[in-house]
Symmetry: C2
């Protein structure tokens, strides 16, 4: 237990307190019943479980009084129209697909919080000066076709047509899978929203990390979504007999990898939003009695701002060079991803922070280390994200992922408050 | 190139110089033609290639004037009898099986050097005060049935009968494979040599390491065969999202492994015959964007004497404990092997050293980091081993393994000299 009291709203108790959280958790439990795995939650793109979840979401959206459709990539889209047909649109969204053996909240929480808020707006006949679109993106995790953001990229006009030819692990092509599910891949380009019709993109998401838990705060305001640079590194030394190669005459690829791992760890501990991970590590065909002649590893470096990240990368690449030179191990480095950090809109960040304050809570600003659908809307419209505290030490991508009804309730009220205070931006 | 001149015999040139080396290399080339792999040398227990090599060896032994037989485990045994039928026996031996994608000399060199020396003794009508047995052991590497020393353990009376039920990768039982090859597993126990009938066991072997190459010496006298203690280590930390877990809040199993690897390397560099190797290293199901929750590794520690090795092991296990405690990573350690160091007989070591000196060469004494058939004769008779310089930085278990005819020639002359000077030991 924390020494501190859990931060709770300090202001006058909202009449809405407790109205949203239990409903959202109940919905999340219901969606988690549909899985392609017998004893775990796995719901990947266009499997029967995934289609069933889409149907359920559409049903709830319709029941909430919104016009609802499933679009050409399987996004479930519900609309709450403003009085002015020429008003801009605010998108409230996240994804409903999951990773393998997932938790119940990653992605879905954002959809369901948006839904509960939209339902409240409609029921209370509160009109906004912009259209509201609740979008449950069909695919964000990239599990089935090794391609993330299928749903949000289509809405953002950034869908890569070449993906249609990609095959899943069973050899099925993406376009065939779409057609079999009753979708029309040819209609994807028409899903792109026009920049000048968008007012903002807002996403609520479980933090998937321990920062809010450590601060003992239900929600946090995301300032940016970390850029991510990834490398695959192959070290080639000299294999040899474990008994006959004196320690001083070895060129051990695994020992070189060990030095790299510890340097990445040390270097990335030196800046607040910087993180570095060696997630893959393997001596191929390693044998207990053979000095490793080769070692493969991955390096993933992220930071809320690109300058911090790139400075770390420069140091890490230089150190890898030094290590390989000193150990006479050759190194092959492939950059496999370079995503710039995506800053959230300062105006939206301030709007969220003010709403958090109005809820009587201290404001924690943090960078998102994980990528989210929001990045697809970079430079297309104003982006904002609200994180919800993740229990169990911040574990996500796991059945242990958890949120509380109270925290979700706060998130929904903050989102509602932000929407009520957001102007039409009729520039 | 070395700055030093290659060490060559300083004494008067032996009339035998050059008599043995080329013959041995020619034989080794011939044996390497039989392989179970199309473009590499692989000759594992009781495959057709292996049987062909046995036939070839038996043919050469017979041609050299010795009575020859293939015994119940496939060893090819040739005898040169002393005049006294009650004389003891000196065994000259090594193995003729190979690893996968092997070199031509590991094992076979010792058989062929013994053969060329025995042939010389017979041709020159030189009688020894002991019987001589040249044994080409059928199996030492342990490739096919994951059991090493099948041939030598039978001769030493240490064959494990339970092995007969073991299956190869194709599901074939060892005893069935033996019978199919015309061998009689039931006759294995009778192969055991009696302790009081043995005078000594001598084995010539390629060094399989770079020490003699570094000293620029053709042969070296083995003082002991290193003991080998092996562990499989499983580290369990906490998996997590590579983007959302701050560096200071992680329990990264791979980072813990990295510390262990570097400590093993550092600790084992501190004593002459001590070596330590992490040969297996793997993050199971590692993903580029996931903090490793688990890492598996192996630790292999060897030394020419058990006290040096055990002191290192104590330090390494203590350090693993410290690392796991500090990082809050749990550790599971299984000891999978503990072979004590096997000392060579001081009298034989001195005999070999004197013979090397008589050949006009400086004496290099070294421990064998690799196990050899000789260990099966521990406490059964006096053991001696002579190493031959290994080219190409000491690479073995590889097609790059190489020896020179000159070095092999020196080894054969030293072996011959030792035999001529060895007493009958009629205690």
């Amino acid at each position: 237990m924390s020494e501190h009291q859990t931060a709770r709203p300090r202001g006058g108790k909202s009449e809405l307190a407790g109205a949203f959280g239990p409903q959202v958790l109940q919905w999340a439990d219901r969606l988690a019943e549909w899985s392609e795995a017998p004893h775990a939650l796995t719901c990947t793109y266009l499997t029967p479980a995934h289609r069933r979840v889409a149907t359920e979401l559409a049903h709830w959206m319709t029941a909430a009084g919104m016009t609802t459709e499933t679009d050409a990539v399987g996004n479930v889209v519900a609309r709450l129209r403003a009085t002015d047909p020429n008003a801009k649109t605010v998108i409230l969204a996240s994804h409903y697909d999951t990773v393998i053996n997932a938790g119940k909240y990653d992605g879905r929480l954002g959809v369901l919080v948006a839904l509960v808020v939209a339902e409240h707006l409609r029921k209370s006949c509160h009109t906004l000066p912009f259209h509201l679109e609740i979008i449950a993106f069909s695919e964000e995790e990239g599990v089935r076709f090794s391609a993330p953001y299928i749903g949000s990229s289509a809405i953002a006009g950034r869908f890569d047509q070449k993906l249609l030819e990609r095959r899943d692990a069973n050899g099925l092509r993406l376009d065939d899978v779409m057609r079999d599910a009753g979708l029309d891949p040819g209609a994807i380009p028409a899903l792109a929203r026009s920049r000048d019709r968008l007012r903002a993109y807002l996403e609520v998401h479980i933090e998937q990390g321990p920062v809010l838990l450590k601060h003992d705060i239900p929600v946090g305001v995301v300032t940016s979504i970390a850029g991510d640079v990834r490398y695959l590194v192959t070290l080639t030394g000299a294999a040899g007999h474990a008994g006959t190669g004196p320690m001083t005459m070895r060129h051990d690829a695994a020992a070189a990898a060990a030095e790299i791992i510890l340097y990445v760890e040390r270097r990335c501990a030196g800046a607040p939003t910087l993180v570095g991970t060696v997630g893959k590590l393997n001596v191929p065909d390693g044998a207990i009695n053979v000095i490793p002649g080769r070692c493969d590893l991955s390096v993933d470096i992220r930071s809320g701002d690109d300058a911090t990240r790139d400075a770390a990368i420069a140091d890490i690449l230089a150190e890898i060079g030094q290590i390989s030179l000193r150990r006479q191990v050759t190194v092959d480095i492939k950059e496999t991803m370079r995503m710039p950090a995506v800053p959230c809109s300062p105006a939206i960040v301030d709007g969220l922070a003010t709403a958090v304050e109005r809820a009587g809570l201290p404001v924690v600003r943090l960078a998102s280390g994980a990528g989210h659908d929001a990045v697809m809307f970079d430079r297309l419209t104003d982006i904002g994200m609200l994180f919800v505290r993740c229990g169990n030490d911040g574990i996500s991508h796991s059945p242990l992922e958890t949120v509380t009804a109270d925290d979700v309730d706060v998130a929904a009220r903050v989102l509602l408050d932000v929407l009520i205070h957001l102007d039409a931006d009729t520039r």
